[in-house]
């Protein structure tokens, strides 16, 4: 075997320049693939995490039908005790799990000078920071406190639109759970700035106790937001929550557990669409490299026709010759893989530390809840995925030149020019 390896190695370097050109093509595509794939996966993860962490949580418990048609009366009874029980049970297996109960309704918010329709969310002030980053993004004033005081936290754009800041009063008008007229006056205690214009314009939070009073909810709420430590913890958390929800749901209508994919179907589809167009581009690149290898190996076989003729006349089987050609290709592809992987890793690692950006990206990224700089995700998977596919296709490309050797006729081959 070592003899074969050495022979293949020497054959490879008979045409130094040709081999290097082919290897460079591999390195070029490998570096590009490693960088692009780790950037893609980095941005996907950031997109998911940023979307979920700001407000929705990784999963939610809702009454059946709420996701499709979020109405105040599609509610969960005794929501605070359920949220607490859920958190306790989840923590038995996932110590970092947090759960927070919420209720939500549309309301007309009026300040002294302005009126706007807003999404009003009732939250438990002490539990909310565990599932959402909004409480931490309060830039003036403070976040809500437990106790059910008539206070409200609003977004920065809403504050501007309503011309109301910390200390101002806001009148809320809406319809209660029973269809009755719901109204109340609350004082702005804080203004948050999440960076997402939609959220800063449309969402306001009040204490859940106050919300339940004002909207005739008794002890009901609409959703329980649950956050876990890592995305990988989501499936086990869904299983635990689903078991509890089904036990509890029988009492009053059924409860559903939705993970981030159910909450934001668009998120996964956007990722899929992006992956698809990504793989089309990578496919073309890999195809071109494979053709380069095919050309090189075919030429290298053709120019050795005489040599192969002599060898096979000496009794070496075509199978061995074909294996030799494959071995040469594998050695060449390995160099491409190694160097490409190393350079690709360096590039990805550099941007992983310094962030990657291009002009105009900040505004575009905002649309996907991304910051203005992207950080490639450097893992064994994102590093190896592209180069290993390139490696496989290079070997595939060498099959045709190798198979040709089975048709070699020693006598004719030895006479070849």
């Amino acid at each position: 075997m070592t003899l074969n390896l050495r022979m293949a190695w020497r054959n490879l370097w008979r045409h130094k320049r040709r081999t290097w050109l082919t290897v460079t093509a591999m390195i070029f595509s490998n570096v590009l693939l490693v960088f692009m794939i780790s950037l893609q996966f980095g941005s996907y993860e950031m997109m998911i995490v940023n979307t979920l962490q700001t407000f929705s949580g990784h999963l939610q418990v809702q009454a059946a039908g709420y996701q499709d048609n979020p109405r105040l009366r599609t509610s969960i009874p005794a929501i605070e005790s359920l949220a607490q029980a859920l958190q306790q049970t989840l923590r038995e297996t996932l110590p970092g799990a947090r759960a927070a109960p919420r209720a939500a309704a549309f309301a007309l918010a009026s300040s002294e000078r302005r009126s706007f329709a807003i999404q009003l969310v009732g939250v438990q002030p002490s539990a909310e920071p565990g599932v959402s980053t909004l409480p931490g993004l309060v830039t003036s004033g403070r976040y809500l406190r437990d106790g059910g005081d008539p206070e409200i936290v609003i977004g920065s754009v809403m504050s501007r639109n309503l011309k109301a800041g910390v200390g101002d009063e806001i009148t809320l008008l809406g319809a209660g759970r029973d269809g009755s007229f719901a109204a109340g006056v609350v004082t702005v205690v804080g203004v948050f700035d999440s960076g997402s214009a939609d959220m800063d314009r449309g969402i306001a939070e009040v204490p859940l106790d106050w919300f339940q009073d004002a909207f005739a909810m008794a002890d009901h709420g609409n959703t329980i937001a649950i956050a876990v430590e890592r995305l990988a913890d989501v499936p086990p958390a869904v299983r635990v929550a689903a078991a509890m929800a089904s036990a509890r749901g029988d009492e009053a209508g059924s409860l559903l557990v939705l993970d981030w994919n159910d909450l934001y179907p668009g998120l996964r589809q956007a990722i899929q669409a992006d992956l698809f167009s990504g793989w089309f581009m990578y496919g073309v690149l890999i195809f071109l490299v494979a053709f380069s290898v095919l050309n090189t190996q075919l030429m290298s076989v053709l120019e050795r026709t005489r040599e192969f003729g002599v060898i096979s006349a000496l009794g070496i089987r075509p199978r061995k010759l074909a294996a030799l050609v494959m071995l040469e290709t594998a050695q060449m592809a390995l160099i491409g893989l190694g160097v490409g992987l190393l350079l690709g890793w360096l590039v990805a690692q550099y941007f992983n530390v310094h962030g990657f950006s291009y002009p105009g990206m900040e505004q575009i990224a905002e649309r996907y809840n991304l910051p203005g700089e992207m950080y490639p995700r450097v893992t064994l998977g994102t590093l190896l995925l592209g180069p290993s596919v390139v490696f496989a296709f290079c070997l595939l490309a060498a099959i045709y030149p190798a198979v040709r050797l089975f048709r070699l006729r020693p006598v004719e081959a030895m006479r070849a020019a």
Binding site: F28, M281, L298
Partner: protein, 414 residues
């Protein structure tokens, strides 16, 4: 060229052509690679262009218009207080002349809509239906009932999703609440006369249409409007329209083209141009290694012949030209096939590619789910020019090397 080398151009072309096909397998493989590369350049560019064009067209339809006039504070604070007076004579005259194709005055205010079952926040649009249709509202998108029939129509047109959300139906009454200029609540009952289907599902929950006059009366704003939307000409070239409208509007109003009204859309156009160029160059680089390799092998095989020809008096320059010509022939052939293949694959897709499988994902990007590839002359020219020019430059190296062989050494080489 012919004087330098002693070989006429036709003779040299014939020579290059024969050399090209001497090792037909190698040439066919390289030709295939160039064809696929060029196809991928053009095909992918057409798809991406189509996507961005659609995104921009849909975005402009949603704005609507290519240019809009607002009160300077309206975009930051979309309140009835920040309205514009009805257009004056000078502006009306400007809006009636080219390059303006259509324009519409609109009231656009935040409002609440309530049925007996539910309440939602919406954007109330007071429109002149005939003008709105000229501006791009598709009457076909009203899937039940009718669109408004005049500026004083008493009816309301809502989105299909909104109808579900409110658990109401066509012909029923709803209450619309907003704010008048004195910050008093202004409300009014409306009968739902039509239901529209939005290009993006979110529009169905965001917009409700009422007559312009009816809305102005409800809000007690006289003849004032929130915005004047203007369209005319191609979206890529909005400068003239913008300047024309701007000249007619005095100080005290803000006139902005779509690229600034929706900066995301404006940026997409620029980022797209960058992406197309990067994509074409990346593909070319991947091709270039194979191209250089092929030429080097071709030259290497005939070192002896080259030496012989030089010994017989052919000049190095002629050898350089000959190899370059060979490369250009290969490139031109690959370009021809690649372009043909691209056109052949794009034409059948002209009717649109249905991507409804991932529709919600595309909505996040602001794209509706049918993709129409857009093959533009500019992109075609760019792809072909990049391949020919850069291909020529990369061929210089092997061609130059071929011309540098010393006749005696070359002949001696086996």
């Amino acid at each position: 060229m012919s004087r330098d080398s002693g070989l006429s151009l036709p003779a040299m072309s014939r020579l290059s052509w024969r050399y090209l096909w001497r090792n037909h397998r190698r040439t066919v493989i390289m030709l295939l690679a160039i064809t696929v590369g060029v196809w991928a350049m053009i095909f992918m560019t057409a798809l991406m262009r189509g996507m961005v064009d659609k995104m921009i067209e849909d975005g402009i339809d949603a704005l609507p218009g290519l240019v809009q006039i607002h009160h300077p504070a309206f975009r930051d604070d979309p309140n009835i207080e920040n309205s514009l007076p009805a257009p004056g004579a000078e502006l009306l005259e400007a809006l009636a002349s080219a390059p303006v194709a259509a324009w519409a005055p609109r009231v656009k205010v935040p409002a609440m809509i309530s049925s007996e079952r539910d309440t939602r926040g919406v954007t109330l649009l007071g429109v002149d239906p005939a003008r709105e249709i000229e501006l791009g509202f598709d009457p076909q998108s009203v899937v039940a009932g009718r669109f408004l029939e005049g500026a004083d129509d008493q009816g309301l047109v809502v989105g299909r999703k909104m109808l579900e959300r409110l658990e109401t139906e066509l012909g029923k009454r709803v209450v619309v609440m907003s704010q008048d200029p004195e910050n008093e609540i202004a409300d009014r009952g409306f009968r739902i006369v039509g239901v529209f289907e939005g290009k993006l599902p979110s529009q169905e929950e965001q917009w409700i249409y009422a007559g312009l006059g009816t809305t102005q009366k409800l809000l007690g704003m006289g003849g004032a409007v929130s915005e004047i939307a203007v369209t005319g000409g191609d979206f890529r070239d909005v400068g003239a329209l913008h300047a024309h409208v701007r000249a007619a509007v005095g100080e005290g109003a803000e006139v902005l083209p779509w690229t600034e009204l929706d900066t995301y859309l404006g940026l997409m156009l620029g980022v797209m141009d960058g992406f197309v160029l990067v994509w074409i160059i990346v593909i070319f680089l991947a091709l270039s290694f194979g191209l250089v390799n092929t030429l080097m092998m071709a030259v290497f095989e005939r070192i002896r012949e080259i030496g012989l020809m030089q010994a017989l008096g052919m000049r190095p320059a002629a050898i350089l030209y000959q190899v370059l010509l060979e490369s250009l022939m290969l490139l031109a052939l690959g370009l021809l096939l690649g372009n043909l293949l691209a056109v052949a694959t794009i034409l059948p897709l002209r009717g649109g590619i249905d991507l409804s499988m991932v529709a919600e994902g595309f909505e996040m990007m602001g794209v509706s789910s049918t993709l129409y590839p857009a093959l533009t002359r500019k992109d075609l020219v760019m792809a072909n020019a990049v391949v020919i020019v850069l291909g020529f430059l990369t061929s210089l190296l092997p061609a130059w090397r071929a011309s540098r062989y010393r006749p005696v050494e070359a002949i001696a080489k086996t």
